[in-house]
C-alpha cells in the first residue's frame, strides 16, 4: 500500500491532482483511492487531500493515514499546517518553495533529518499555465522522486485526464509537468 497526503489551499487543485493521479495509476491495473477533507472550506483555506494505491482492492476507508509521501503545493503551509502529522521514518516530503532545500530546512527545523525535495510549482505554473495552479507540476516532481512511471507514459495519460480543457491549457500543463520533473531537487 502506497499512501500520499497532499497539503494545499482550497482552489489550488489538490483534489483534481489527487484524482488525476488515481486515474493514471488505475490504468496500470492497480487499485486506487483519492479523497479530501472538505468541511465548509473557503477558497484559500488550508486543506488536505489523499491517495492510496495498492495491488489489491482498497477496503480501508479511514481518514487516518501515515503517509509515504507528503506533497505540499503551497509554500506557506510548511509554517502553518501540521504537515508532518503521523509521519513515518521513511516519509518523503516534496515541497513547493522558491528556496533551495537547505534554505527551506533552515527556515523550518521540523524538516531536519527528513527526506526533503523542493520544487517551485507556483512559479512553474505561473510561467507555463499562466496562473498559480501548482497541482500538475507537483505530479511531475512526484514522478521524478518516486520513479513511479516513465514520463512519456505519465504525460500521455494526463492528456486523457485533462481532455476537457482547451488544447492550449493541456499543452501548458505538459510543459509544467516536464519542468517540475527536471527541476525538483
Amino acid at each position: 500500500m502506497l499512501e500520499i497526503r497532499w497539503h494545499s489551499r482550497a482552489g489550488q487543485g489538490a483534489v483534481t491532482g489527487a484524482k488525476g493521479l488515481a486515474d493514471v495509476v488505475s490504468t496500470t491495473g492497480k487499485h486506487v483511492q483519492a479523497f479530501a477533507f472538505y468541511g465548509s472550506a473557503k477558497r484559500g483555506a488550508a486543506m488536505t487531500a489523499y491517495n492510496r494505491v495498492d495491488d489489491k482492492m482498497i477496503m480501508n476507508h479511514e481518514k487516518f493515514m501515515a503517509p509515504d509521501y507528503v506533497l505540499v503545493i503551497d509554500p506557506a503551509l510548511v509554517y502553518i499546517a501540521d504537515f508532518t502529522a503521523n509521519e513515518k521514518e521513511s516519509t518523503v516530503y516534496i515541497i513547493t518553495t522558491h528556496m533551495t532545500t537547505a534554505e527551506l530546512i533552515a527556515s523550518q527545523p521540523k524538516l531536519e533529518g527528513k527526506k526533503v525535495f523542493t520544487v517551485d510549482c507556483i512559479k512553474i505554473s505561473q510561467e507555463t499555465i499562466g496562473k498559480a495552479i501548482p497541482n500538475t507540476p507537483m505530479l511531475g516532481a512526484l514522478m521524478k522522486v518516486s520513479g513511479m512511471y516513465e514520463m512519456d507514459f505519465f504525460k500521455e495519460n494526463m492528456i486523457r485526464v485533462l481532455k476537457k480543457l482547451p488544447q492550449k491549457i493541456i499543452d501548458a500543463n505538459m510543459i509544467a509537468i516536464q519542468r517540475a520533473y527536471d527541476e525538483v531537487k
Binding site: 488515481a22 486506487v32 483519492a34 472538505y38 482498497i58 477496503m59 480501508n60 476507508h61 479511514e62 487516518f64
Partner: protein, 406 residues
C-alpha cells in the same frame, strides 16, 4: 435518441459520479431536484448529461426538496422513470412527500448521500438521514463504496419497477467517504446497463386515458388501514425475494455479487461487528489482520436496511458469541437502531450472544482501524465473561470524558 458515452472498463469515479452515470444509463425520464451537499454532483451531472444529449430526459429545477420529491411523484404518477438525490436537511424536508411516494406505490429512485442533520450544521457523513427514512415505506439499499453506488442503482430500478413490488427505493452512500472518494468502478456499456433494467413499464399511469385512475386520494377509517396493510404486505413479502432475484440476475450479468446481509469471515466467527456503509469495508480489513493473529472475528454488513432482513440476519449470527452493533447516528433517548434490530432478530432464537452498542462517526468523525481493534477487544472480554463487561452503549472516537449509558 440519446447519444452513447464511451466508458473505459474501469473508470475512476467517486460515488456521486457512479450514481449519476447509472441514472444516465437507465435513461431516467425526469429528475426534479434541489441540490444539497454532498449529493449535489449526482443531479448536477445528470443535468449536464441531459444538456449534452446523453439522456432523453427532463431536468426540473424546483424551489425545495419538498417540491423536488413532489415533482418526482407527479412525473412518476404520469408514467415516467423518475429519480433524484438529496442529503441531510434536504432529506428531512422531503420526509412528508416520501410517505406519499410509497403510499401511492410509485417506483421512484432516491439517491441519499448520507450526511449529519443539524444543529449544529455539518456537511459530513453520518447515518442520521438514512435512519430518519426507515419508517417511510421505501426500500433502502446501502452502498459501501463507489462500485456499490453504481451497481445498486441498476438493482434498485429493477426491483422498484417490478409490478409485484411497485415501491420506491433509496440507494444510500456515505457522504464524502463514498460520494467524494474516487475509486476504480467497473462499468457496463450503455447498452448493457440499460438492458439490465429494460424499458420502464408504467402501471396505473395517469396519462393512460383509456384506463383512468385516481392518484393521491383521501381514505378515512373505511379504507386507510387496508391501503397501509397492502403496502406493508408488498414490502414484507414481495420485496426481499425480488431483491434476491435482482442480486442473482446482476451477478449472472456482471459477476458482481450482492447479498441481503453481507458477511466476511462469519462462518466460524465468535465475535462479530454489525455495521453499514464504508465502515463495513474498513472492518473487513481489520478482521483480516486480527484473523492473522488468531482471533475468530467477522463482519456483518447490512445491505438492505428496509425491508429489514430479520431471518437472514438471525441465520448468519446464529453461532456468534459476542456482537457489537455500530450505529453512525445518535439514537437520542435509547440504544442505537442496529442494537434494537439485532436484538429483535435474535430474541426468539436459540442464539444467546452478548450484544453491545457503539455510537461512532457522527458528523464525519473518522472510524479508524485502531477503534475497530478496540471494539473487538471489548467483544473478546464479553465473550469470555459471558455477559457485557462494558456499558451497553458506548461512544467511539469521542473527545473528552468517556460517555456511556445503560
Amino acid at each position: 435518441m440519446a447519444d452513447t458515452m464511451e466508458l473505459r472498463d474501469i473508470e475512476v469515479w467517486d460515488g456521486n459520479m457512479a450514481a449519476s452515470q447509472a441514472l444516465r444509463q437507465v435513461q431516467v425520464d425526469v429528475v426534479a431536484a434541489y441540490p444539497i451537499t454532498p449529493s449535489t454532483p449526482i443531479v448536477e451531472n445528470y443535468g449536464n448529461f441531459t444538456a449534452n444529449g446523453y439522456v432523453d430526459g427532463e431536468f426540473v429545477m424546483v424551489e425545495s426538496e419538498h417540491a423536488a420529491m413532489s415533482g418526482c411523484i407527479g412525473a412518476s404518477a404520469a408514467g415516467g422513470r423518475v429519480a433524484t438525490a438529496t442529503s441531510s436537511q434536504g432529506f428531512a424536508l422531503m420526509v412528508e412527500t416520501l410517505y406519499s411516494a410509497s403510499g401511492m406505490r410509485l417506483p421512484i429512485i432516491l439517491n441519499v448521500v448520507n450526511r449529519a442533520i443539524g444543529a449544529p450544521l455539518n456537511v459530513n457523513g453520518d447515518h442520521s438521514d438514512m435512519y430518519l427514512g426507515r419508517d417511510s415505506g421505501w426500500i433502502q439499499f446501502d452502498a459501501y463504496c463507489p462500485q456499490d453506488a453504481y451497481d445498486l442503482n441498476f438493482i434498485a430500478f429493477k426491483v422498484a419497477e417490478d409490478h409485484d413490488v411497485r415501491l420506491p427505493a433509496m440507494v444510500h452512500q456515505d457522504g464524502f467517504m463514498t460520494s467524494h472518494t474516487a475509486q476504480g468502478v467497473k462499468t457496463m456499456t450503455d447498452e448493457e446497463g440499460f438492458a439490465f433494467v429494460g424499458e420502464f413499464q408504467p402501471m396505473n399511469d395517469m396519462l393512460d386515458l383509456d384506463h383512468p385512475v385516481t392518484h393521491g386520494v383521501q381514505t378515512e377509517e373505511d379504507w386507510h388501514f387496508e391501503h397501509k396493510a397492502r403496502q406493508q404486505h408488498a414490502l414484507m413479502t414481495a420485496a426481499l425475494p425480488k431483491i434476491q432475484e435482482a442480486f442473482d440476475a446482476f451477478e449472472k450479468y456482471t459477476g458482481r455479487k450482492y447479498n441481503l446481509v453481507e458477511t466476511h469471515m462469519v462462518d466460524d466467527a465468535e465475535m462479530v461487528v454489525v455495521c453499514m456503509g464504508t465502515s463495513v469495508e474498513t472492518a473487513m480489513e481489520v478482521v483480516d489482520e486480527l484473523r492473522a493473529k488468531g482471533m475468530k472475528v467477522g463482519v456483518v454488513g447490512i445491505r438492505v436496511f428496509r425491508p429489514w432482513p430479520l431471518e437472514q440476519l438471525a441465520e448468519v449470527l446464529k453461532n456468534v458469541k459476542a456482537i457489537a452493533a455500530l450505529d453512525r447516528s445518535s439514537p437520542h433517548g435509547t440504544v442505537g437502531m442496529l442494537y434494537n434490530e439485532i436484538a429483535g432478530s435474535l430474541f426468539n432464537t436459540d442464539t444467546k450472544a452478548v450484544l453491545t452498542n457503539y455510537i461512532y462517526g457522527l458528523g464525519g468523525r473518522d472510524l479508524t482501524k485502531v477503534h475497530l481493534v478496540g471494539i473487538f477487544n471489548d467483544l473478546k472480554a464479553n465473550m469470555d465473561a459471558g455477559k457485557p463487561t462494558t456499558a451497553l452503549q458506548q461512544y467511539i472516537g469521542l473527545r473528552g470524558p468517556k460517555l456511556s449509558f445503560f
